[in-house]
Each structure stands twice: as C-alpha cells, then as structure tokens.
Symmetry: D2
Subunit: 157 residues, 4 copies
C-alpha cells in the first residue's frame, strides 16, 4: 500500500466494486477488478476472439477501455463518499502488440487534487511461460496518462 494516499472514505473498495458492477461495458468485455488499494486499481480481461483486431491481438479499444477504467477507479479510491468520477481525457501509447492470455491494466494516481486527479496508466499482456518456465510473462503493451474530474454533490449512480 502506498503510504502517500489516504482514502477519504474507508469504504472505498466496496464503493468501487458496486460502481464497476453497473458498467455494462465492463461485463461485455469480461473484465474484473483484481486489485484495489488507495490510489491504485487493476483490471483484467481474459482473451476472447471477439476482443481482437485484424491480426488476432487484443483490440486497442479493449486495451484503452480497461486502462481508462483502471485509472478512473484509481482516482475514485481517494474521493470522499457521494462524489462521482469522470474522465476528462487520456492519452495512451500502444508500445507492443497486446498478445497474450489476458490483459491487465493498472491505474495509479500521480497527483490527487480537490477537483482534478492525474493517473498513470499501464497495460500488460500476460502469457504463461514455456516448458520448464515458472510463472507468467508480463509484457508492457501500453503506457498512458489520464486526467479525471471529481464531480462534487453528485453520487456515482
């Protein structure tokens, strides 16, 4: 846990899982939240043929959708209760083909402000190691930067 970040709402993890469950699109992608900490959220998506682009890799739209959501929820972990989060903008570099058994997007708060929050985004393609190799091979396939706005006086519903 990153000691820099103190959540304003102790129920931040529940709040995030409830909000995530209301995202029809995350369900369509088969995405799940795999990690929630103050200022950090990870979202994973297993490979499916209907998530691909023309070469059979994960489509950049999948990569950027889970990156955007991971960043949005990372910022949301630090918001007081009763607020809502919106993405103002994000930029993403697709640095390697998103080729693997699943994608894992990590959003991490760089700067948390009263109105605006800035997050770093990273997406990794995960593959099982070959014969005799233990563990999982992680390849960075996208790197991004995102600006969020905290909407005061509006619950996330």
């Amino acid at each position: 846990m990153d000691a820099r970040y103190q959540p304003a709402d102790p129920n931040f993890a529940d709040r995030i899982r409830e909000s995530f469950a209301r995202h029809g699109f995350m369900t369509l992608l088969g995405a799940t939240i795999v990690r929630v900490e103050p200022g950090l959220v990870e979202i994973e998506v297993p490979f499916r043929p209907d998530l691909t682009q023309q070469h059979g890799y994960f489509h950049a739209g999948v990569t950027s959708a889970i990156a955007d959501s991971a960043g949005g929820y990372a910022g949301y972990t630090l918001f007081p209760a009763g607020r809502s989060v919106l993405t103002v903008e994000f930029k993403i570099n697709l640095v390697a083909p998103a080729h693997g058994e699943r994608l894992c997007a990590r959003g991490q708060v760089v700067k948390s402000g009263r109105t605006l929050t800035i997050c770093a985004l990273e997406v990794f393609a995960l593959s099982r190691g070959g014969d005799g190799e233990a563990g999982v091979i992680r390849t960075l396939c996208a790197s991004g930067l995102q600006t969020l706005i905290c909407l005061h006086g509006r619950a996330d519903e």
Copy 2:
C-alpha cells in the same frame, strides 16, 4: 471528397471493409463503417445497455475504440496496397456525456507521411429531434488526435 488526398490504391474502400470485417471487437460493439473517402472514415455504433458506464451513457471505452478505429482506417485509405496500419498512440478529450441513440466517430487525416500519419478524431452522439423537429441532433462528445504507423512489407492479414 477532399482533393488534398489521392489514394495510392484505387481499391482502398474494399480493402478497408475487408479489414474491418476481421475485427472481432468491432462486431462485438455492433459497429459499422458508414463512410469511406480518401483520408476520412466514419464508424457508427447504435446504443445498447451493454455498451454503457455507470450513468447509462456510452462507456468512454466504446467512444475511444471507435474513434481509434475510424482514425486508423482514415490513415489506411491513403496507404499503398500490401501495407498494414498500427496505432502508435492517441489522445482523446471526452467533452460531453456520450448520450444518444448512436455514436458516430470520424477520423480525418491531418498529415500523411511515408511512415507516420496524424489524424484528428471526433465523436458525435446522435439523437432524434423532438416533436416538430426535423432531423438528428449531433452533439460533439469527444475530440482527439492520433499517430499511426504504416508497416511496410506486411499485408494487413
């Protein structure tokens, strides 16, 4: 048609429709190409509840996926035959809620180079006008900028 842009391959429109048909993810979204011209492509997605975020609007991941694809194909219209297109990076500002009956993303070439191509991205939310109103209300909901790379010596398959 924009006189600035001369397609290098007269079959560019067929080439794009074939490539698009191989994108499993575009099929999952229900996306279709509605316009193809040299340097310009438009992609539409009708509203479905499984394309939404927590407030019931189109998810930013849908908005950015079709914006990225529209830009990628806009660049691809100007490539010679036998090349492939990859998104290097894109940045997108979500300027209004993506609330409507369908989304329309437009990619438009700003600068076409031998290796790199730069596209402007716009996404509009389209709604039918109210009683007595003719036509469709278009609201700009996203504006972006994208860098593409033309892969030489590799067909898009």
Copy 3:
C-alpha cells in the same frame, strides 16, 4: 467571428493583452498577439537563431510554448472577469519541421465549460513565396489539443 462564442466580459481583448504583457517568457521569445476574437487567439514569433534546435529550425519548445499560450488565451477570451486560466495539460504532434521566417500559433476553443475548456492548437510556419509568387506560404507544423481550467475567485495577476 465565430457566432458560437459570446464573451462573458466585453473587455476580453484588453484583459488578454494586459495578461500577455506580464509573461516574461513571451517577451523573451519575441512573441506578440496578432489576433484576438471570442474563442480564438493567434500568437506569432519571428525567427531568431537563439530559438532553434540542432538543425536550425524553431525548437519544439518554442512551437509548443506559443501553442500553449494561444490556446490558454483563446479559452480566457470566454471567461468572466476576475478569473484566471491555467493549462491542465496539452498534447502536441510536430507534423513538419518548423522552418520559416516566423511561426504562428492558433488556439481555438472546441468546448467551453464552466470549469474546463478544451482547445484545438495549430502552429504554422510562414515563409515568403519565391519569385513571382504573391503572399506567404503557410505550412502546418504542429497540431495539438489542450485542457484548461478556469480558476474561480482569483484574478489573473
């Protein structure tokens, strides 16, 4: 003049010229405001050898500095009196060498909100035409997108 944009403060042009005069850095660059309209500002910089990069063209830092300022002031034209403008972030593509007798940056409001304003940025390199050619050759050398924040309750001083 763009009819979409109504300035909230009729003295917007004076307010901008006064603010610009307080930018030590714009003076150092030799930059001047050459156009102010609601939602649009243009800033020019004549060529000087101390504004160059290693190939003798304008440095990308000059290009992006005047693009950022043109966008910031374009947003500022629409702010009520007594507010201040800050750049939240910008992204800029350097699409051609910034080679010419002067650079002209144009900032143009894409979306004006109460808190956030989004601007499109363009920078042109201007050169005199050759023998027998009238007028000036304009080459697009940068294209960008910018997010501004309006600081309420704080004058720009």
Copy 4:
C-alpha cells in the same frame, strides 16, 4: 544505471553534449544537462524573471521545452551513431505550479524500438529547504509521455 538499456554507441554521452550545444534555444533558457545515462537524461534551468508566466512561476513553455529535450536525448542515448532524433509528439500534464529556484526535467525511456521510442517525462521544481532543513525540496510539477522517431541515415547536424 538501468541494466535494461545498452547504448549502441559507447560515445553516447559526448554525442549528446555536442548536440545539446547546438540548440540555440537551450542556451537562451540557460538550460544545462545535469545527468546522462543509457535511457535517461536530466536537464536543469535556474529561475529567471524572463522565464515566467503571469503569476511569476516558470512558464509552461519552459517546463515543456526542457521536458521534451530531456526525453529526446534520453531516447538518443540508445541510438546507434549517425542517427538523428525527432519528437513525433508529446503530452504533458502540469500538475502543480512550477515554482522554485530551478526546474529539473527528467526523460526516461519506457520502450526503445528500431524506429520509435517512447519516453516518460517528469519535471520537478526544486527549492532550498527552510531554516534547519537540510537539502532540497522537490515538487513534481509536470508529468508527460513522448513519442520519438529515429531518423536512419542522417547524422544529427
């Protein structure tokens, strides 16, 4: 030193200092290179009133100029001899006022490819600590992401 990155040219540091000396604009800003390692470059600028914006802080144009240069040279450390570097695009978030005795920009390679290189950019404002405090206070004032292109067959002159 980051073991991930092996410079292709053992004279990379000399090559960078020579190139930097040809940037008229870096001289105008009073910028110096303070650190060069494979995949990492830092550039500093001391405060001067002619580098400011309207509130007396470093102008965003200074912040982004040294961030862009630090990233460009970070990528350049890994290029073979006889190549040149150009910035394709960058995005920068200005996360805090650039207020201090000097600015330090760090460019760090995220992904190094044959044609394209991606760098992370950070700019810190440095101030001396108060009475009884040792050392320097570093405040992150900007965070960015940059795409560079390696020009083959063209020396950096």
